[in-house]
């Protein structure tokens, strides 16, 4: 039984629990016990497809929730200075434990209305260019950058192609690689394809336990390789898109534990860990000389995928 089915089952058990008369104590206890068992089994035996489910869970906290809780005095700044202001990219200044930081977030909405404005967290070229502008501004003022990654991927739209999303993403990759200020990336939920990578060229990459980060969505992967979008669950299992897989491969550095059932069950728990880890890493990175910082960042990405022979 996958997590989707388990949660459905729990929901139906909770419904029957509610419908029981107050005197059916034994029956109630049995159901409660059954719910607890399902919960334990489901949440402690999660596979990759379950992580995909949690990463996209409607109740999963969004970037704005983290911004509100992690930072003081967030002042959002707008616009790419070329074409527009992309609602899917929220950027601005904030104070983190008294340290001024630039925050760059991929933001999904919480309501349909907000999601229309935020394009469901899929950035347009303007979003990457806004991030680039604010990143260069952060560099000017030696201000560390914290990025929050949550996007299913770049937006497959006509305008996004016309206005050069390929170029915009490529610029992010090149500029962040050489940005003379510390950068920390946190993969919150979905880290899909080039859109996520554009915000992940960082000195330290953290990832929430049930976030996913992959070359493509499982659906896209199944569709391209097996011509069958419905085999997404199967794809998820071979794609190694979970935090634990990525840590093993050296693509991310730190896993932020989530409470049983996912971040939305206890956001404070996640925030507390993230806050501690961010402060620790920020202080570590801010101590480094610029040259060391940059050469270590270079080496970090340089090392990814070194298993070849026959040169």
């Amino acid at each position: 039984m996958g997590l989707r089915e388990s949660e459905a089952k729990i929901a139906s058990l909770e419904a029957s629990l509610a419908s029981l008369e107050s005197e059916d104590i034994l029956q109630k206890e049995a159901i409660v016990k059954q719910i607890e068992e399902i919960r334990q089994t489901a949440y402690t035996h999660m596979d990759a497809w379950d992580s995909v489910y949690l990463a996209r869970h409607p109740k999963r906290p969004k970037a704005s929730d983290y911004i509100a809780r992690l930072f003081d005095d967030f002042m959002e700044l707008h616009g790419d200075r070329f074409y527009g202001d992309d609602g899917a990219c929220q950027g601005g200044l904030a104070s983190f434990h008294g340290i001024p930081v630039t925050v760059l977030a991929q933001s999904k909405g919480k309501t349909l209305e907000e999601n229309m404005k935020r394009n469901f967290g899929m950035l347009q070229p303007e979003g990457y260019r806004k991030a680039l502008r604010l990143a260069k501004q952060a560099e000017k003022f030696h201000r560390p950058i914290i990025t929050l990654v949550d996007t299913s991927g770049a937006y497959p739209g006509k305008g996004a192609e016309e206005r050069g999303q390929a170029e915009a993403i490529a610029q992010c990759l090149q500029v962040f690689a050489d940005l003379k200020t510390p950068v920390i990336a946190v993969v919150l939920s979905e880290g899909g394809s080039g859109g996520a990578l554009a915000f992940s060229v960082a000195d330290q990459i953290m990832m929430l336990e049930h976030a996913i980060y992959s070359v493509l969505s499982p659906e896209g992967f199944a569709s391209i390789l097996w011509k069958d979008e419905k085999r997404a669950a199967e794809a998820a299992k071979v794609m190694e898109l979970r935090a634990q897989d990525l840590k093993r491969k050296g693509v991310i550095d730190t896993i932020i534990k989530e409470p049983l059932g996912g971040a939305h069950h206890d956001l404070d728990y996640v925030i507390a860990q993230l806050d501690e880890e961010l402060l620790k890493q920020l202080e570590r990175l801010m101590k480094k000389k610029e040259k060391t910082l940059l050469s270590e960042r270079y080496e970090k990405f340089r090392r990814m995928g070194q298993s070849y022979e026959g040169m």
Partner: protein, 291 residues
């Protein structure tokens, strides 16, 4: 000054004659073979096609080149020295059927991977060169493509060489998962250093340049050239058409379209490509009297 120009012109004429004589020697081609143009479907004698740089004499379509044919057309004869030729993947070929497909392609193409890298001279100017080959796994970028291109860029930076990359790619090598995606960052980071060193990078886009390659080194050239009518874009046309729920213009994502949108510098026909590259390299030669 005049003398300088005369010498240059002489050199250029020399190269031209050298190349045309080069092209007149058919290499390893069985006689009387025909190939049909992928655009106009006309049947063309293989030898004619080769002498015409694999441009269809009927419709002008720039047909697919192998990496080595591209090298033959571009560099000073005999000047190409390949790097990391036999580099292949040691681990991470676990995806079902992936290892077999790699081996099959290696046998079929004579290549070890989807890019050939090395150094060469163009008009006497040494440069680092990477040429992708879409005959190998649609030119998709996995760890080896990323590693070879990164090494080629790093070599150029170290030796202060200009860099030319001929791009053609269907995107990331899905079978290698996240490690294919991060090659975009790795190659772009290497280019950042090449750029910081004040060196010239020419990106030359050929059919098709899409996905992860388009969103990394392909779009980072100081100068970006493209072959006529080649497909250039990040997302696939079909996906976009279904997203926007409308017909896309006929020339959507063609080189001509992308030129108009401001993302490439010039469309250069294959017959001019060597001369244009030499001209650009000359204009960027390091001047002793300067700085």
């Amino acid at each position: 000054m005049e003398q300088l120009f005369k010498t240059r012109k002489m050199r250029l004429d020399l190269f031209k004659s050298r190349r045309s004589s080069d092209q007149k020697q058919p290499i390893d081609v069985p006689e009387n073979l025909f190939r049909s143009c992928s655009e106009c479907k006309e049947s063309i004698p293989f030898e004619d096609l080769m002498h015409n740089l694999y441009v269809c004499p009927h419709c002008g379509a720039h047909l697919k080149l192998t990496a080595h044919e591209r090298i033959r057309q571009i560099v000073d004869e005999g000047s190409f020295v390949e790097m990391d030729k036999r580099m292949t993947l040691l681990e991470g070929r676990t995806f079902p059927g992936y290892e077999e497909k790699l081996e099959r392609l290696q046998k079929k193409t004579g290549l070890y991977e989807a890019v050939v890298t090395g150094t060469a001279k163009l008009g006497g100017i040494k440069c680092a060169l990477a040429i992708m080959d879409s005959n190998f796994f649609m030119g998709s970028m996995g760890q080896i493509v990323g590693e070879k291109i990164t090494r080629c860029i790093e070599y150029a930076t170290k030796k202060k060489l200009p860099l030319i990359i001929f791009c053609t790619s269907g995107g990331a090598r899905m079978q290698e998962g996240i490690l294919s995606l991060v090659q975009m960052a790795k190659t772009s980071a290497a280019l950042a250093k090449h750029h910081e060193a004040g060196l010239l990078y020419i990106s030359y886009l050929t059919h098709p340049t899409t996905g992860g390659v388009s969103a990394s080194f392909a779009m980072l050239g100081d100068i970006i050239l493209a072959e006529p009518k080649c497909l250039i874009g990040f997302a696939g046309k079909r996906v976009i058409a279904s997203t926007v729920n409308e017909e896309l213009p006929a020339d959507f994502q063609t080189a001509e379209f992308v030129l108009e949108k401001g993302f490439i510098d010039r469309i250069v026909e294959r017959k001019d490509s060597r001369n244009v590259l030499i001209q650009l390299l000359r204009l960027h030669e390091r001047r002793v009297s300067w700085d």
